[in-house]
Symmetry: C2
DNA sequence: AAACAGTAGTAAAACGGTTTACCAAATACG
DNA sequence: CGTATTTGGTAAACCGTTTTACTACTGTTT
């Protein structure tokens, strides 16, 4: 038979004082009580190993301090790093992020929406591009709840956003490859294009136009997210005359790399590869990947900053912060000569 | 001015029926009500966009369905994969894991203990070897709460555990390297040895003894977790006559690999490397790493299985499940000839 | 026709805290 | 010395659900 849960009443009884007093004292609002009384309360709490019930406490004082963070896939190092950076920024401020990794589970989204709609979280960070739309729609009625998005889509919400300069990033990557002499560049992109990818792609294209070149349709490869997708794409790419490859993220880039390798091609000998994200294992790859690094830590910090502002001043006008990325040149890219493939 | 939260009363009012009826109907226990009434309730819910308050609901019916999962580091692919596999096993059964990544934050542990002690979770999975001891101690009084550990330590608790055959694994790795002709094998281990590592190490040693060899102290390298630790270790290892390296996990192995590479050494040419864990990016590394694969999915499944059993039958005797690992031979190891380094 | 069983519904008591409003005794003030 | 204020404390309302224990009514048996 289980012992009944120890409640505040038990503490009050043990300390020989009222429930009110116990509550106030344990919440640091007990200035008015004598230090002797306080001592007895703390003593009783310790002896009974009392912890206030989370639900009861949440029910009355609406002050919970947890913020929900929705990410698409916990296994993608970019998102797990982002989750960590949000955590690191939030905890010192007294907020505790709760990670929801959607992972393609329908139930997951439902569960999280329910959780959120029922008032568990004080705010919501949606770091799941694409999935956002659906979620934002479902939650749109609750628009008095602070949200921060990392979504470029033109959603008709006035939520705060932390974004990266997608177009500029795309352009910079393309410029870099073009400056190395690559003219035939393959793009490996996902089947479903989210808004940020469209923008990034626009940037790529602009760079080509500035060089008097154009992006040819036959060098665009649509595949799945994740390394498997990259492996598949590699098989197609070697049938073309491409000399460089831009992957939608490092995860995919790794797959392309592996795919090329097992087809007997070398990097950067036969192909230059550029990734995107700079997840944390990147610098340990051999050869290391040239990639457009997202400022993950900064993104996390800004997200938390906006979130806290918004919680404190619910009616302040919405903000949109755009952060710059940084090209990190690794060993996966190299100059090629005018004529063709080999330097 | 914010609109007041819509409560069950509003729904009842709108539907012209009692609060009880609304509650029962919305929880699928309203068989006895006429379908017309049900319709009205659902209608009202929809129109008012009503979601039951999480706290109120939690307060009364103690049936929340969330289980806490504590992992040491969300960035380590092994643990993020484990978290995912727990999620995949739990959700179909109607339980929702909540991930707490400790990440070395003292506040994190405190927060989570408070959360847990205050009854938020129905059960607790401690997948944080080493940290467990402290936590288990603090929570020991609440020993009526279902816990599943993945800790080899001889804690005096009767909690369920899901473990891997550490000693056997260690032995198998060593046997494999010995069978390839390696006699001088370096070990890269963390500074702080948890119980599982001690056991694994025992296995290594046994294999050496069976071969009439012994593990020499000067080939044991203690370093930090993570790839950085591996890089550091590599610098020391090349000063020795080791021909093979066993790393405590794949994360570290990658670092060793990178370190050797930047010191002009090749793998498996100069050194064979074996890792542990088999995190999900492993097969995309070049060369792919020989590693002792943990059955991550199965671990997740067993954890959830035990947890649910324990929730349903709190008094059943505790179980301890030991799972086998599997050596996955990659391209990072090779045979060497009797004499010395080169085949 | 009396007893019985459904049927469709409700009022009120929990759940475990926090907070508001109030009080009695002790002390300070003029 | 009578009144005002401070000190140390409490009783009770409330938060939004779920659940228990009724009730009134309508058929159905025997």
């Amino acid at each position: 038979m289980k012992a009944n849960k120890t409640t505040i009443k038990d503490v009050a009884l043990k300390a020989g004082i009222s429930v009110t007093a116990v509550s106030l004292i344990l919440n640091g609002k007990g200035e008015r009580f004598s230090s002797e009384t306080k001592r007895k309360v703390h003593q009783a709490q310790l002896e009974l190993d009392y912890y206030p019930d989370y639900y009861a406490r949440g029910l009355v004082g609406q002050r919970n301090n947890s913020i929900g963070v929705v990410i698409p896939n916990i296994k993608n190092p970019f998102f797990s790093s982002l989750a960590l950076s949000i955590e690191q920024a939030a905890i010192p401020k007294g907020y505790f992020p709760q990670i929801f990794s959607v992972n393609g589970f329908k139930e997951n989204i439902d569960y999280f929406i329910e959780q959120f709609a029922s008032g568990t979280q004080k705010g919501l960070v949606l770091a799941a591009p694409g999935a956002s739309k659906e979620i934002v729609d479902k939650l749109s009625i609750h628009n008095d709840i602070p949200m921060v998005l990392t979504d470029q889509a033109d959603l008709n919400t006035d939520d705060d956003r932390v974004l990266i300069a997608e177009e500029k990033s795309g352009k910079e990557i393309a410029h870099y490859l073009l400056s190395l002499g690559h003219k035939r560049v393959a793009f490996v992109i996902p089947r479903k294009l989210t808004m940020n990818l469209v923008k990034r792609f626009t940037g790529y294209t602009e760079a080509f136009i500035e060089y008097g070149l154009e992006v040819s349709e036959d060098l665009i490869f649509r595949t799945d997210f994740g390394p498997e997708g990259g492996v598949k794409a590699a098989k197609e790419i070697i049938k073309t005359d491409a000399t460089a490859i831009i992957a939608i993220n490092d995860d995919v880039a790794m797959g392309v790399f592996k795919g090329l390798h097992s087809l007997g091609k070398s990097v950067p000998g036969d192909y230059s590869i550029v990734g995107f994200d700079d997840f944390n294992l990147n610098k340990y790859l051999i050869p290391s990947l040239t990639t457009m690094a997202q400022p993950i830590e900064l993104i996390g910090q800004k997200i938390v900053e906006l979130m806290i502002e918004r919680i404190q001043y619910p009616n302040r006008p919405s903000k949109r912060i755009v952060l710059d990325t940084k090209l990190k040149i690794g060993d996966s890219t190299r100059q090629i000569n005018e004529g063709g493939r080999v330097l």
